[in-house]
Amino acid sequence: MKLREIGIGKTVETLGAWMLGALWLLPVVFAFWSAFHPAEYSTSFSLFAPLTIDNFVRAWSYAPFPRYLLNTFILVTLILAAQFILCTLAAYGFARFEFFGKNVVFALVLLQLMIMPEVLLVENYRTISNLGLLDTIPAIGLPYMASAFGIFLLRQSFKTIPKELVEAAQVEGLSAVGILWRVYVPLARSTYIAYGLVSVSYHWNNFLWPLVITSSVNSRPLTVGLAIFGAPESGVDWSIITAATVMTMAPLLVAFILFQRQFVQSFMHSGIK
């Protein structure tokens, strides 16, 4: 009786998992289908429809995708580098040192986790405008660089590092910065990988803020470029739009498939799920 209950539970779970997987996969499959076939097949399915890469060629030439790709690449790199540096230093402070008001400051950092970035759209726009950075790549990244999530995650990871290791390094003559660089950072490697993945994919896909703050080809990331490209006023050609979409997501998809094992392991190690 009990065994059967478990059996049914398992079946339902498996079914649910497959359904969720299929739901996630469908648009991707459609995008690939439509991108690799001539326009007339984009909404009708025929197994032996002729394959083509013509859509990609056209999409590539219709809009400055190479520039968008470069912008996005610079953007995610810039954000990730800044986040690693800022969050590492902040997390190190919270994890290892005692200072006046530490808990209050940490609570403020956590508070930031609860605010959706979209709420601050207008305020952030004003700040960026005052800084004279409108329509630049750093302007897209700036609001995200001191990431509360990153600080929190790294602090938790740093806190699990045995005190003895830090003391051993102290006895061996390392400075506070030396201990951070040679003990804390290497030991939190899996957290860095996991966080890096979350950050890159979030900012690669981020849309609303970049749309608001950019207005020229020189700063526009892929997502915004793609939206403008696919806007109804330029006529809806699904084949070209999906080809552009595939180009947009391909680098991330390829990277994830290549490093899948490391990523999954890192997530398991760092406890982000």
Binding site: P162, E167, Q170, G173, R189
Partner: protein, 346 residues
């Protein structure tokens, strides 16, 4: 080489209102192996951490090699330290772990390689240089930790329960190895342990601690033969000393119930005619000798006899001892009041 004597003077340490250490005064001579011994929570590790500079004393001074180091950070104290869990860096291989401190101290590369080679040969680690600590056994990890301490070539080495994670056989081997290394390299070593056998076998001098205070400081023989307190008597020796008390006459020179009588198990003999009568409650055969635990009134008395015993559980035995073997302690303070050689209480 400069002297590396360690002197602690009137050291106190407390966290808030909780006093961890009080009135710590001792000298660890040049090239001496001093063991800090005591039950958990007695302050032995705290004392070591104070010497290392990982904690600062609330008051008092610490001197190493003729220099007051009380307020210096660990790196300026010219010490090396071995931690209980070895504190090896899991992301570095054996060679990198051993050289960790030398790189931080900017020792030239050629010198580093030479010292690494010597240390590895000394500890039998040469073939493991490229492995990560996780791929090695407990004993090998222990050796890496020792290597890191030796390669620094400083004359003071601090050890915090270095053998407590090893199995019994390995522990014995390693403690002999540590002792011979210490003597060969003429290191001044402060060694923390809760294992009295380890302390007795390895030490030049032992400091026995309890509740943040020093109970007794002396050679292993001193602690064994002339325990300064009932606690020392009951802590040192395996099995430990019997600490007995009685309202009636317990021994010729036992004055009254305001005293404890201490008698070592090996000094108790079974007699036909005289002595106190106890009932056997347990017998442990150890091979070379046998432990017999007897119930005498409310108290248990342990004695050892050579070889095997004919006694059975439930038997009554008459237990006897010689007057010169008893130790008397004040019942309130636990402090020794007799001279066992004289055998008379004052």
């Amino acid at each position: 080489m400069a002297t590396s004597k360690i002197i602690l003077t009137d050291v106190y340490k407390s966290w808030g209102k909780a006093e961890a250490l009080a009135d710590i005064n001792f000298v660890c001579g040049d090239g001496e192996l001093l063991v800090l011994l005591g039950p958990s929570g007695c302050g032995k590790s705290t004392t070591l951490r104070l010497i290392a500079g990982l904690e600062t004393p609330t008051s008092g001074s610490i001197e190493i090699g003729g220099r007051d180091v009380s307020n210096l950070p660990p790196v300026k104290r010219n010490i090396s330290m071995v931690f209980q869990n070895y504190a090896l860096f899991p992301h570095l291989n054996v060679a990198e772990n051993i050289l960790f401190g030398l790189k931080a101290r900017k020792v030239p590369k050629k010198e580093r390689q030479k010292r690494l080679k010597d240390t590895a040969a000394l500890l039998g680690l040469t073939e493991f240089m490229d492995r990560k600590p996780a791929q090695l056994s407990g004993g090998q990890r222990q050796r890496i930790a020792l290597g890191r301490a030796i390669v620094a070539q400083v004359s003071v080495c601090l050890m915090d329960e270095p053998l407590s994670n090893l199995d019994a056989k390995l522990r014995q081997e390693m403690r002999q190895e540590i002792r011979s290394l210490q003597q060969r390299l003429k290191m001044t070593m402060v060694y923390v342990t809760h294992d009295q056998v380890e302390a007795m076998t390895i030490a030049d001098k032992i400091i026995l601690m309890k509740d943040g205070r020093i109970e007794q400081h002396g050679t292993p023989e001193d602690l064994y033969n002339r325990p300064a307190t009932a606690f020392t008597g009951s802590f040192i020796g395996n099995p430990p000393m019997n600490i007995l008390t009685s309202d009636g006459p317990l021994s010729k020179s036992f004055p009254d119930s305001s005293y404890f009588l201490g008698i070592r198990p090996e000094n108790i003999s079974i007699s036909n005619t005289s002595g106190i009568e106890g009932q056997v409650v347990a017998i442990e055969y150890l091979g070379a000798d046998t432990l017999i635990v007897c119930q005498w009134g409310e108290q248990l008395i342990t004695l050892t006899v050579k070889g095997k015993t004919d006694a059975l559980v439930g038997d009554y035995l008459r237990l006897n001892w010689r007057e010169e073997n008893i130790h008397l302690f004040n019942r309130d303070s636990g402090v020794r009041v007799s001279n066992p050689a004289g055998g008379t209480a004052r």
